[in-house]
Symmetry: C3
Subunit: 351 residues, 3 copies
């Protein structure tokens, strides 16, 4: 990534920090122009900024086209990713005799791995995790504390699941029988492809039949609910508290903003963006941005919101118009009366 | 259930599967006409369909009035319900001396059962569960991994709680004192009746005083929050991410769709349906379907949504009408002028 | 607190209960006038009521200006706060050699405390909790079962975290690289000040850089999601299922009602109230109450909701007006025709 140094390129840097919290030895950055005024106040030893940003005072700066990407590289270089504790196969872990683990397994105390589980190499499973019968985990998987995988769940390579997330629980599958709910055995499973990262306290239902699928490279935040049999494409990004009902099909590279919801049995195309709190009730064509509940294309939603905010004005205009029409009618009535009085012919009432 | 066989009634069947995923030896079904085109492509050995469905090619079919109920029966017959691991009383479980367990108890490693707990027969408690002091569990209860029951929680027979759900935590009970929040001890409890099934990562507050109640046969999906002192009737169905505030009373056989919310201290009648994302702010009479936020009866909500979508059109019509009235006014003004010029009598300005 | 006794001031009281559930020996209360009719039916031995409440029959009553505060004091006096089990340092807890615990530590079986953790005096950590490397916990902290603190989390004195809550997980921090998401190491942390209580199954993201902060005395209900780098002030009250995106700044004494959501990078002033299900998309000035999605000041939102509910009427009025204008136009046209026929001069078409 091409960068240009401004000021002292030899200043020692040992950490990346925010403009607000940075001190001596820290490098910080400005990506969002909203925070430009913090540049004047920061005590960072250096800053990463765009080529065209005006520095309010002489500073040590790295200038680049994409400060966000640059700071990402710096964080990776200087700080790196989280190092996990090294338990090996902790003696207090509960591993079934028929479970098979790959090389360099790292399983914490109290973690449970049930019968017929097959696990790849270099996998880390924190304490409190439960991996039920017949699960398959790829290489380099990380399960943070208290993750639960129900029976038959499949995770690809490099899948990371944050603490408290449950995968493969039964979905809401009941048949109505005489006013009671008869449970339908949920015999499908969940399949999560390579490089997926799931946040904390999410719930992903197993399919009633077949599979619930999360595509490769997709990233979830926290408290997300995915219904049974839903299939999500690759490289999607779901923000916290999103909920998808069952049997939804989501394309590739779809963004779902916070608290958005999707009803069952619909299809969301590739590269769709669903706005925060949107309620999607119909198929969404590829590339669209939809907002609102029920969700509509962005331009339409913004117009609707604006018009709803203008409703008091609209109502006033209507009332004014009613008065004007009433006044006109009186005027016309008087004019007719006058015409009738003046001539007597051509009255509209008797044409 | 009366069924009619079409094609080869002796084809061997070993599993139930979706139309998409089925192969040789699988039976599948069509209940939702939306998926009718999949009939032509399925590789299932047989399908369950309604009497009136047209098969696109010769297939082995079971024809019945209710394919969904039929496939439920087939799943139960062929696959059955989940079999739990058999731990008996695992030596690594932590069971207080004063806890009493019924026959055939099945308690996994690391599960904790505190003082004065009483548990029925044939109960399964997975690893990571915590059953606090004084809880009462009926027969055939299942607690999946990492379920937490706070002190004094009561579960009826055949209650099933999925992984990560918390029952009986303190509700948001604080008294304001000089701008600070003084905690009110939450001394009530949660009582869950027979045959309730609760999904994963739900939270059900204990009552401040008295009881929070979930009625017999009610089913919850995941990530549902129930406030303190709320009482829910029998045979309800709550979809994921529903939230009820405290002191709500919900009748029997109420359906709450995904992400719906209910404010505190109101009553929802029997057989009510609350739509997805609805925000219920007032009592709802029995049998109603309500939608929207604030929630209103369905027909009214649909009309509102339609009218909001028509607002641009409404605004255009209003503007056009304003122009027409303006034109009319000019016309009338000219007519008056003409009349005045032609006669001079009967002018509206001087009646 | 000044109180006045009515009836028998010597009746023995052993518990506080609701008007509905109370029996002999119980004291109950009426704070919400909604429940006044229950006074006639209660079997409580005494009731706490406001000075001006009319008792439907002779009852033993404590009259006071603030029955809610009075009953809080009575609950504390008679029932007190929850007593935790006494594990001491349970032999089955997993405590790293470099972890330092204060006096009277109370750590349950299976709890894990990792390297370099520092914990204050009289702390209770229930089974299934995981306290990762480098966390700092103040005095009198309580972690209910299955709470997870990621590395570096800081909790002040008297912080209480309910079961299943996760603090310090990675936020949704990825940089887009060629259509894929590159994970940005999340190297910040979460800092929770004194006297905070957090409900069950919440998720509080660590900051990407710097800190996510929850201010002293703030109380959360359940299933709340807080994004990375968000800073919340003192003495706030958040109801269940609230979601805040990242880099939000929230002032002091802010109330967020159930299922409310806030987009990233905005500021919410002191003493703001955000209504249930509101979607806040812009800065909110101190003291405001906002409702709706997008959220607007309460009076504006209520007017909008009312006007949307009046839309059918508005549409009818518009249609009626269109008809009236059409009728007027015909009338004017006829009048003109008549004028033209009667005189031929002064036609508006040829002025």
């Amino acid at each position: 990534m091409p960068c240009r140094v401004e000021g002292d390129g030899t200043v020692p840097i040992s950490a990346v920090n925010t403009l607000e919290d940075a001190g001596a030895g820290d490098i910080s950055f400005l990506a969002n122009p909203k925070y430009e005024k913090l540049l004047a106040e920061t005590r960072a030893s250096a800053v990463v900024v765009r080529d065209d940003v005006h520095l309010p005072r002489p500073m040590n700066a790295l200038r680049t086209r994409d400060p966000y990407a640059a700071i990402t590289i710096l964080i990776v270089e200087i700080h790196g990713y989280r190092q996990h504790p090294r338990w090996g196969l902790d003696a207090r872990a509960n591993i079934a005799p028929t479970a098979r683990l790959g090389r360099e397994a790292n399983v914490g105390p109290g973690a449970c791995i049930d019968e017929d589980v097959v696990i790849g190499d270099r996998v880390t499973i924190y304490p409190g995790c439960y991996v039920a019968r017949g699960c398959r985990l790829g290489d380099d998987v990380v399960l943070y504390p208290n993750v639960v995988l129900y029976d038959g769940t499949v995770l690809g390579d490099r899948v990371v699941i944050h603490a408290g997330t449950i995968i493969g629980e039964d979905g809401l599958g009941y048949a109505p029988v005489d006013g009671k709910w008869l449970k339908i055995p949920q015999i499908g499973r969940v399949v999560i492809a390579d490089d997926v990262e799931i946040g904390s306290n999410c719930t992903i239902d197993r399919a009633t039949l077949g599979q619930t699928v999360i595509g490769a490279g997709t990233k979830f935040s926290n408290l997300i609910a995915i219904g049974h049999g839903t299939k999500i494409g690759e490289d999607c990004m779901f923000v916290a508290q999103v909920g998808l009902a069952g049997s939804v099909t989501v394309g590739r590279h779809v963004t779902m903003a916070g608290q958005a919801g999707v009803v069952g049995h619909i299809t969301i195309g590739d590269n769709v963006t669903v706005g925060a709190k949107a309620g999607v009730t119909n198929h969404v064509a590829p590339g669209l941005t939809v907002l609102g509940a029920p969700a509509v294309p962005m331009a339409q939603c913004k117009r609707q919101v604006l018009l709803v905010q203008q409703l008091p004005q609209l109502k006033r205009q209507l009332r004014k118009l009613q008065e004007e029409v009433e006044a006109l009618r009186r005027l016309v009535g008087l004019a007719q009366d006058a015409a009738r009085r003046s001539g007597g012919h051509g009255s509209p009432e008797s044409p």
